[in-house]
């Protein structure tokens, strides 16, 4: 019997394959930016500012004459690092909090639920803005802000999953074998609760890229000259009528990355369903 490998199954589906290829390309850009980018991201060339896309500058240049394509390639670093790190922190924290709240219940559950419901009632962008207003702008602050902004989502999802799972007979059976809380949470509850949380995390990464871009657009994220897609679009607004490519290409980069993440997330949802997999065997 074939081993259960959801990622492989996801990649084999058409939309999973295409989106995975695009995501790999974006990741390669982020990892190997200095090798791929034709120019350095911070070399200014004021006489050549706002230049049209050409053979020398495929995507044109920005208001300081910097090569736009190079900045977009470097910008992938900022966007991906911030979004992936923030969401990973958020998912791990949400799994821990949600599992503990659901499993142990009592005052801890009530406290977690109250805080989570409170933050859940605000849009993520508002929470992130408030947090950055408190801790100050910068890449690190944006990561912290995004991870806290999404924490409620993962905590709620995990809690709901564990609440349903903890009444399953196999949990009682395992207790009766003499298992402790640790074994039950880590060997039974979390593995069964993980699928939807991972998929939600995957989809939230797309949103987090947009949130990072939005914060960058407001000038709260990566500080110049470090390129970030959101900040690039922000500076492009002033040139929108003379050099629209400055705002169009970073916007396209964001759109393509987020769409690919969502498509891959969809493919993953399908392949992660163990019942789907087994029916085909």
């Amino acid at each position: 019997m074939a081993a259960f490998d959801p990622i492989k199954t996801a990649i084999r589906s058409p939309r999973g394959g295409v989106s995975a290829a695009v995501l790999l390309l974006v990741m390669a850009c982020a990892l190997f930016a200095p090798l791929i980018a034709p120019y350095a991201y911070d070399i200014q060339n004021l006489p050549g500012s706002n230049a049209d896309p050409s053979v020398a500058h495929w995507m044109g240049t920005d208001e300081f004459g910097r090569d736009l394509m190079s900045r977009i390639i470097y910008g992938a670093r900022t966007s991906l690092t911030v979004a992936v790190t923030a969401i990973s922190i958020s998912v791990v924290a949400g799994l821990t909090l949600g599992a503990m709240a659901a499993y142990f219940g009592g005052w801890f559950d009530r406290a977690v639920t109250a805080v989570v419901d409170l933050t859940w009632s605000f849009p993520e962008i508002l929470i992130a803005l408030i947090l950055i207003a408190i801790i100050g702008p910068g890449v690190g602050s944006v990561m912290v802000a995004i991870s806290i902004a999404y924490l409620a989502q993962f905590t709620r999802l995990t809690r709901a999953q564990i609440m349903a799972l903890k009444n399953e007979t196999y949990v009682e059976a395992t207790t009766n074998l003499g298992a402790g809380h640790f074994h039950i949470i880590f060997r039974h509850l979390l593995p069964n609760a993980l699928t939807p949380v991972i998929v939600a995390g995957m989809l939230a990464t797309g949103d987090a890229i947009i949130l990072e871009a939005t914060l960058g657009f407001f000038g709260l994220g990566a500080q110049p000259p470090t390129p970030s897609w959101g900040a690039m679009m922000s500076s492009g607004t002033a040139q929108i009528f003379i050099a629209p490519w400055i705002i169009i290409f970073p916007g396209l980069a964001i759109a393509i990355t987020v769409i690919s993440i969502n498509l891959f997330g969809d493919a993953l949802i399908e392949s992660l369903d163990i019942h789907n997999h087994l029916r085909s065997v």
Partner: protein, 328 residues
């Protein structure tokens, strides 16, 4: 108050005055309501025998099963297993004791983690008990368990939902037997299976009992099964023990037990008799009943029955009955 039966050496489990309350509701200006799922139950489970517990759904049979294994904590009362008070055991001692007392669950469909292969599920007891096994030992263990319950070794790498309900229940039994227990609680082990599969599972349980010298506490609502399978039958109603019949052939003398066992369908038309029909409704489990729980529906109920709870009295031969006016 029921009368606690004296502890005898041949009793593996002794239950004394066991009560479990659940509360529900409660909130702003609303009182919490309390129900006694198991109400002052005293019972002993003799070694090497099958003790059956019957009753309608909601009479507290499953709660009793969980209390006996300390999967639920009792509100009051004690459960002694092999002379040890379970409530007094530390976590570590309880873990060791669990090797000897296992359970087969009603719903085989959710009794195995859907992400576990059968092999992994059968090795989990050893993992939980901190018993390291080499690959060869593990293989021998799984092979033995799987053949013990009559499954094919081919199924070892299967996932639970690739198996039928009966096969899953066999896996459930194999897992319960993995640690070589002496005591098995069977919580309606055949209730969610087809009739033909039920018979196979009961046959398997019967032969395993002989082979391994097991003691069973068999929870069921299937009366004919209980009469066929059990050495003693405990009849429960609304969390209380109404009657304990010493053998499958013993004639019930409690009005409820009589009506319950009488409702059993007799396949032979010549032996069919007029069935006693019960009037009235089962009281709400939240209601506090000062007297006999069955008084509202009992044909022989008197004022005394409504006022005073009848104690569980011995009629001789281990035939116990909680009734002010037993049948002749």
């Amino acid at each position: 108050m029921g009368i606690a039966p004296a502890t005898k050496d041949d009793d593996l489990v002794t239950i004394t005055g066991l009560t479990r309350e659940f509360s529900s509701g409660g909130g702003f200006l609303r009182p919490r309501r309390t129900m006694r799922a198991v109400n002052d139950v005293s019972l002993d489970v003799p070694r090497g025998k099958v003790t059956g517990v019957v009753g309608e759904s909601g009479c507290g049979k499953s709660t009793l099963a969980r209390l006996v294994l300390r999967l639920l904590e009792a509100t009051t009362g004690t459960v002694e297993f092999d002379g040890k008070d379970l409530a007094a055991q530390s976590q570590g001692e309880m873990r060791k004791l669990r090797r000897q007392m296992q359970m087969v669950f009603q719903d085989p469909y959710s009794a195995i983690d859907p992400r576990y292969t059968i092999r992994r599920a059968l090795l989990e007891p050893f993992q939980v008990q901190g018993e390291a096994q080499t690959a060869a030992e593990a293989k021998a263990t799984v092979d033995e368990l799987i053949s013990m319950v009559g499954l094919s070794p081919r199924m070892m790498e299967s996932f639970p939902h690739q198996l039928s309900g009966g096969q899953k229940q066999r896996v459930g039994i194999a897992r319960a037997l993995a640690l070589r227990p002496t005591f098995l609680v069977l919580d309606e082990p055949t209730a969610s299976l087809d009739v033909s599969i039920q018979a196979q599972i009961i046959d398997l349980l019967e032969s395993l009992k002989e082979e391994l010298g097991l003691t069973y506490l068999f929870i069921s609502h299937d009366l004919s099964l209980v009469r066929y399978f059990c050495d003693r039958v405990v009849v429960m109603y609304l969390g209380r023990v109404m009657e304990i019949l010493p053998g499958a052939e013993a004639r019930p003398r409690h009005h409820y037990a009589h009506a319950l066992l009488d409702s059993n369908f007799e396949p032979d038309p010549a032996r069919r008799k007029v069935v006693t029909m019960l009037g009235g409704e089962i009281p709400s489990p939240f209601a506090t009943i000062p007297g006999c729980a069955f008084a509202a529906r009992c044909p022989a109920a008197s004022e005394l029955c409504k006022r005073e709870r009848p104690p569980l009295a011995d009629l001789g031969n281990g035939h116990m009955i909680a009734c002010h006016h037993p049948m002749d």
